[in-house]
Amino acid sequence: MWIPIVVGLTVGTLAFRLAGPLIGGVWRPGRRLESGLAMAATVMLAALVATSTVDAGADTGPSAARIAGVVLACAAAWRGLSLPWLVIAAAAVTAGLRVLGVP
Protein backbone atom coordinates (compact mmCIF):
# COMPACT_ATOMS: atom_id res chain seq x y z
CA MET A 1 0.00 0.00 0.00
CA TRP A 2 2.98 2.35 0.43
CA ILE A 3 3.91 2.51 -3.26
CA PRO A 4 0.68 4.33 -4.26
CA ILE A 5 1.08 6.62 -1.22
CA VAL A 6 4.66 7.59 -2.12
CA VAL A 7 3.80 8.06 -5.82
CA GLY A 8 0.53 9.93 -5.16
CA LEU A 9 2.07 12.34 -2.65
CA THR A 10 5.19 12.88 -4.79
CA VAL A 11 3.32 13.67 -8.00
CA GLY A 12 0.66 15.83 -6.33
CA THR A 13 3.12 17.79 -4.22
CA LEU A 14 5.47 18.43 -7.15
CA ALA A 15 2.50 19.70 -9.21
CA PHE A 16 1.63 22.13 -6.38
CA ARG A 17 5.22 23.38 -6.16
CA LEU A 18 5.45 23.85 -9.94
CA ALA A 19 2.15 25.75 -10.22
CA GLY A 20 3.70 29.16 -9.56
CA PRO A 21 6.78 28.82 -11.80
CA LEU A 22 4.67 27.37 -14.65
CA ILE A 23 1.52 29.49 -14.73
CA GLY A 24 2.50 32.47 -12.57
CA GLY A 25 2.59 34.67 -15.67
CA VAL A 26 -1.11 34.25 -16.42
CA TRP A 27 -2.82 33.66 -13.06
CA ARG A 28 -2.24 34.29 -9.37
CA PRO A 29 -4.16 32.98 -6.36
CA GLY A 30 -6.18 35.66 -4.55
CA ARG A 31 -5.77 36.37 -0.85
CA ARG A 32 -9.01 34.55 -0.06
CA LEU A 33 -7.82 31.32 -1.72
CA GLU A 34 -4.40 31.70 -0.10
CA SER A 35 -5.82 32.01 3.43
CA GLY A 36 -8.35 29.25 2.70
CA LEU A 37 -5.58 26.80 1.73
CA ALA A 38 -3.56 27.67 4.83
CA MET A 39 -6.59 27.23 7.06
CA ALA A 40 -7.53 23.90 5.41
CA ALA A 41 -4.05 22.53 6.18
CA THR A 42 -4.26 23.67 9.81
CA VAL A 43 -7.77 22.28 10.34
CA MET A 44 -6.82 18.89 8.92
CA LEU A 45 -3.69 18.70 11.09
CA ALA A 46 -5.78 19.65 14.13
CA ALA A 47 -8.22 16.83 13.32
CA LEU A 48 -5.27 14.42 13.10
CA VAL A 49 -3.98 15.62 16.47
CA ALA A 50 -7.35 14.71 17.95
CA THR A 51 -7.94 11.39 16.18
CA SER A 52 -4.38 10.08 16.63
CA THR A 53 -4.57 10.95 20.33
CA VAL A 54 -7.82 9.05 20.82
CA ASP A 55 -6.91 6.09 18.60
CA ALA A 56 -3.30 5.39 17.63
CA GLY A 57 -4.14 2.27 15.65
CA ALA A 58 -4.86 -1.42 15.90
CA ASP A 59 -1.71 -2.40 17.85
CA THR A 60 -2.09 0.35 20.43
CA GLY A 61 -5.80 1.15 20.69
CA PRO A 62 -7.21 3.67 23.17
CA SER A 63 -4.83 4.55 25.98
CA ALA A 64 -5.55 6.80 28.98
CA ALA A 65 -1.81 7.36 29.44
CA ARG A 66 -1.37 8.63 25.88
CA ILE A 67 -4.42 10.90 26.04
CA ALA A 68 -3.19 12.41 29.34
CA GLY A 69 0.36 12.84 27.96
CA VAL A 70 -0.77 14.56 24.77
CA VAL A 71 -3.34 16.79 26.50
CA LEU A 72 -0.89 17.93 29.20
CA ALA A 73 1.94 18.57 26.72
CA CYS A 74 -0.34 20.46 24.30
CA ALA A 75 -1.71 22.57 27.16
CA ALA A 76 1.88 23.46 28.09
CA ALA A 77 2.62 24.28 24.43
CA TRP A 78 -0.43 26.54 24.39
CA ARG A 79 1.22 28.47 27.22
CA GLY A 80 4.49 28.75 25.30
CA LEU A 81 6.42 25.45 25.64
CA SER A 82 8.62 25.01 22.54
CA LEU A 83 8.26 22.12 20.08
CA PRO A 84 11.21 19.97 21.22
CA TRP A 85 10.05 20.12 24.85
CA LEU A 86 6.47 19.48 23.79
CA VAL A 87 7.53 16.21 22.14
CA ILE A 88 9.68 15.17 25.10
CA ALA A 89 6.92 16.07 27.61
CA ALA A 90 4.23 14.11 25.73
CA ALA A 91 6.40 10.96 25.56
CA ALA A 92 7.69 11.31 29.13
CA VAL A 93 4.25 11.80 30.73
CA THR A 94 2.81 8.90 28.73
CA ALA A 95 5.74 6.60 29.59
CA GLY A 96 5.64 7.70 33.25
CA LEU A 97 1.93 6.98 33.60
CA ARG A 98 2.47 3.53 32.08
CA VAL A 99 5.17 2.81 34.67
CA LEU A 100 2.53 3.65 37.29
CA GLY A 101 0.18 1.13 35.71
CA VAL A 102 -2.11 3.43 33.70
CA PRO A 103 -2.95 1.60 30.43
Binding site: M1, W2, I5, V6, G8, L9, T10, G12, T13, L14, F16, R17, L18, A19, G20, P21, G24, P29, L33, E34, G36, L37, A38, M39, A40, A41, T42, V43, M44, L45, A46, A47, L48, V49, A50, T51, S52, T53, V54, D55, A56, G57, T60, S63, A65, R66, V70, A73, A77, S82, L83, P84, L86, V87, A90, A91, T94, A95, G96, R98
Partner: protein
Protein backbone atom coordinates in the same frame (compact mmCIF):
# COMPACT_ATOMS: atom_id res chain seq x y z
CA UNK B 1 17.13 23.86 12.65
CA UNK B 2 17.24 21.90 15.91
CA UNK B 3 13.45 21.58 15.78
CA UNK B 4 13.66 20.31 12.17
CA UNK B 5 16.25 17.72 13.16
CA UNK B 6 14.15 16.50 16.08
CA UNK B 7 10.97 16.29 13.98
CA UNK B 8 12.83 14.43 11.21
CA UNK B 9 14.41 12.05 13.72
CA UNK B 10 10.94 11.37 15.17
CA UNK B 11 9.46 10.76 11.72
CA UNK B 12 12.07 8.13 10.84
CA UNK B 13 11.82 6.48 14.26
CA UNK B 14 8.00 6.36 14.31
CA UNK B 15 7.77 5.07 10.73
CA UNK B 16 10.15 2.19 11.46
CA UNK B 17 8.62 1.32 14.81
CA UNK B 18 5.21 1.27 13.08
CA UNK B 19 6.56 -1.48 10.82
CA UNK B 20 7.14 0.46 7.58
CA UNK B 21 9.92 -0.73 5.24
CA UNK B 22 12.95 1.61 5.74
CA UNK B 23 12.74 2.80 2.11
CA UNK B 24 9.31 4.38 2.66
CA UNK B 25 10.19 7.15 5.16
CA UNK B 26 13.44 7.84 3.28
CA UNK B 27 11.71 8.11 -0.12
CA UNK B 28 8.89 10.23 1.29
CA UNK B 29 11.41 12.63 2.80
CA UNK B 30 13.46 12.93 -0.40
CA UNK B 31 10.57 13.06 -2.89
CA UNK B 32 7.67 14.66 -1.00
CA UNK B 33 9.85 16.72 1.35
CA UNK B 34 6.97 18.14 3.40
CA UNK B 35 7.08 17.19 7.07
CA UNK B 36 3.50 17.82 8.12
CA UNK B 37 2.06 15.91 5.13
CA UNK B 38 4.48 13.01 5.77
CA UNK B 39 3.39 12.81 9.41
CA UNK B 40 -0.27 13.14 8.42
CA UNK B 41 -0.06 10.28 5.90
CA UNK B 42 1.65 8.13 8.54
CA UNK B 43 -1.06 9.07 11.06
CA UNK B 44 -3.87 8.15 8.66
CA UNK B 45 -2.32 4.74 7.93
CA UNK B 46 -1.61 4.03 11.62
CA UNK B 47 -5.25 4.85 12.32
CA UNK B 48 -6.29 2.17 9.83
CA UNK B 49 -6.92 4.37 6.79
CA UNK B 50 -6.20 3.29 3.21
CA UNK B 51 -3.77 4.67 0.62
CA UNK B 52 -6.40 6.91 -0.95
CA UNK B 53 -7.26 8.60 2.36
CA UNK B 54 -3.55 9.02 3.20
CA UNK B 55 -2.82 10.68 -0.16
CA UNK B 56 -5.93 12.88 0.03
CA UNK B 57 -5.08 14.12 3.54
CA UNK B 58 -1.42 14.70 2.62
CA UNK B 59 -2.34 16.66 -0.50
CA UNK B 60 -4.89 18.86 1.28
CA UNK B 61 -2.14 19.74 3.78
CA UNK B 62 0.33 20.41 0.95
CA UNK B 63 -2.11 22.48 -1.11
CA UNK B 64 -0.77 25.58 0.70
CA UNK B 65 2.42 25.02 -1.35
CA UNK B 66 0.44 26.22 -4.40
CA UNK B 67 0.23 29.68 -2.86
CA UNK B 68 3.90 29.51 -1.81
CA UNK B 69 5.02 28.59 -5.32
CA UNK B 70 3.48 31.79 -6.65
CA UNK B 71 4.97 33.85 -3.84
CA UNK B 72 8.58 32.66 -4.37
CA UNK B 73 8.37 32.35 -8.17
CA UNK B 74 10.87 35.17 -8.82
CA UNK B 75 13.38 33.90 -6.24
CA UNK B 76 13.92 30.48 -7.85
CA UNK B 77 16.51 31.66 -10.40
CA UNK B 78 16.89 31.27 -14.15
CA UNK B 79 16.86 28.17 -16.34
CA UNK B 80 14.25 25.42 -16.26
CA UNK B 81 16.45 22.86 -14.44
CA UNK B 82 17.30 25.40 -11.72
CA UNK B 83 13.66 26.39 -11.37
CA UNK B 84 12.53 22.75 -11.16
CA UNK B 85 15.08 21.99 -8.43
CA UNK B 86 14.21 25.22 -6.64
CA UNK B 87 10.49 24.45 -6.76
CA UNK B 88 11.14 21.12 -5.00
CA UNK B 89 12.86 23.02 -2.17
CA UNK B 90 9.83 25.24 -1.42
CA UNK B 91 8.93 25.03 2.28
CA UNK B 92 7.19 27.22 4.88
CA UNK B 93 10.62 28.42 6.02
CA UNK B 94 12.14 29.78 2.82
CA UNK B 95 8.79 31.16 1.64
CA UNK B 96 8.58 33.20 4.84
CA UNK B 97 12.19 34.37 4.32
CA UNK B 98 11.51 35.50 0.75
CA UNK B 99 8.32 37.31 1.74
CA UNK B 100 10.19 39.03 4.55
CA UNK B 101 13.23 40.05 2.45
CA UNK B 102 13.69 43.81 1.84
CA UNK B 103 16.76 43.95 -0.39
CA UNK B 104 15.72 42.92 -3.96
CA UNK B 105 19.08 41.14 -4.52
CA UNK B 106 18.72 38.92 -1.51
CA UNK B 107 15.57 36.77 -2.01
CA UNK B 108 17.21 34.26 -4.36
CA UNK B 109 20.23 33.67 -2.10
CA UNK B 110 17.99 33.44 0.98
CA UNK B 111 15.61 31.02 -0.70
CA UNK B 112 18.28 28.63 -1.94
CA UNK B 113 20.44 28.71 1.18
CA UNK B 114 17.50 27.98 3.48
CA UNK B 115 16.05 25.42 1.07
CA UNK B 116 19.27 23.41 0.80
CA UNK B 117 19.91 23.60 4.54
CA UNK B 118 16.42 22.37 5.44
CA UNK B 119 16.55 19.62 2.78
CA UNK B 120 19.91 18.37 4.11
CA UNK B 121 18.96 18.50 7.81
CA UNK B 122 15.54 16.94 7.20
CA UNK B 123 16.79 13.99 5.16
CA UNK B 124 19.80 13.25 7.36
CA UNK B 125 17.57 13.38 10.46
CA UNK B 126 14.97 11.05 8.94
CA UNK B 127 17.71 8.58 7.90
CA UNK B 128 19.15 8.72 11.43
CA UNK B 129 15.65 8.10 12.82
CA UNK B 130 15.24 5.10 10.52
CA UNK B 131 18.55 3.66 11.78
CA UNK B 132 17.60 4.39 15.40
CA UNK B 133 13.98 3.18 15.14
CA UNK B 134 15.06 -0.37 14.36
CA UNK B 135 16.75 -0.64 17.75
CA UNK B 136 13.74 0.27 19.86
CA UNK B 137 12.14 -2.83 21.31
CA UNK B 138 9.11 -1.40 23.15
CA UNK B 139 7.74 1.84 21.69
CA UNK B 140 4.78 1.80 24.11
CA UNK B 141 7.01 1.85 27.18
CA UNK B 142 8.78 4.96 25.84
CA UNK B 143 5.47 6.71 25.14
CA UNK B 144 6.32 7.06 21.43
CA UNK B 145 2.64 6.75 20.47
CA UNK B 146 2.15 10.21 22.03
CA UNK B 147 4.83 11.77 19.83
CA UNK B 148 2.88 11.97 16.54
CA UNK B 149 -0.08 14.00 17.88
CA UNK B 150 2.32 16.15 19.95
CA UNK B 151 4.45 17.04 16.90
CA UNK B 152 1.39 17.83 14.78
CA UNK B 153 0.12 20.14 17.52
CA UNK B 154 3.52 21.83 17.73
CA UNK B 155 3.45 22.44 13.97
CA UNK B 156 0.03 24.15 14.03
CA UNK B 157 0.50 25.98 17.35
CA UNK B 158 1.60 29.34 15.79
CA UNK B 159 -1.38 29.31 13.38
CA UNK B 160 -3.80 28.94 16.31
CA UNK B 161 -3.09 32.51 17.44
CA UNK B 162 -5.53 33.51 14.68
CA UNK B 163 -9.03 33.39 16.19
CA UNK B 164 -11.00 32.19 13.12
CA UNK B 165 -8.37 29.48 12.44
CA UNK B 166 -8.54 28.29 16.05
CA UNK B 167 -12.35 28.12 15.93
CA UNK B 168 -12.28 26.20 12.62
CA UNK B 169 -9.75 23.75 14.14
CA UNK B 170 -11.89 23.21 17.23
CA UNK B 171 -14.98 22.55 15.09
CA UNK B 172 -13.13 20.29 12.62
CA UNK B 173 -11.30 18.29 15.31
CA UNK B 174 -14.52 17.80 17.32
CA UNK B 175 -16.34 16.58 14.22
CA UNK B 176 -13.51 14.14 13.42
CA UNK B 177 -13.44 12.66 16.95
CA UNK B 178 -17.24 12.38 17.19
CA UNK B 179 -17.48 10.56 13.84
CA UNK B 180 -14.39 8.38 14.50
CA UNK B 181 -16.35 5.31 15.71
CA UNK B 182 -18.92 5.49 12.89
CA UNK B 183 -17.03 6.27 9.68
CA UNK B 184 -14.41 4.21 7.81
CA UNK B 185 -10.83 5.03 8.92
CA UNK B 186 -9.46 8.16 7.25
CA UNK B 187 -12.89 9.65 6.51
CA UNK B 188 -13.29 11.58 9.82
CA UNK B 189 -10.08 13.53 9.18
CA UNK B 190 -11.25 14.49 5.67
CA UNK B 191 -14.66 15.42 7.11
CA UNK B 192 -12.93 17.87 9.47
CA UNK B 193 -12.66 20.28 6.53
CA UNK B 194 -16.31 21.14 7.25
CA UNK B 195 -14.85 23.07 10.19
CA UNK B 196 -13.68 25.65 7.63
CA UNK B 197 -17.30 26.87 7.51
CA UNK B 198 -16.75 28.25 11.02
CA UNK B 199 -13.45 29.97 10.22
CA UNK B 200 -13.67 31.37 6.71
CA UNK B 201 -15.36 34.76 6.25
CA UNK B 202 -18.61 34.76 4.21
CA UNK B 203 -18.08 35.00 0.43
CA UNK B 204 -19.56 38.47 0.00
CA UNK B 205 -16.87 40.80 1.27
Amino acid sequence: MFAYALVGLSFGTLAISAGLPPAVPILLSLLVFAGSAQFAALGVVLGGGGALAAVAVGLVINARLIAYSFAVRDALGAGSATRLAGAHLITDVNTALVLGARDPERPQALFWRAGIAVFAVWNIAVAAGVAFGGRIADTQALGLDAVLPAILFGLIRPALNDGPTARACLAGASLAVLTLPWLPAGAPVLLSLAGLAVGLPPAQR
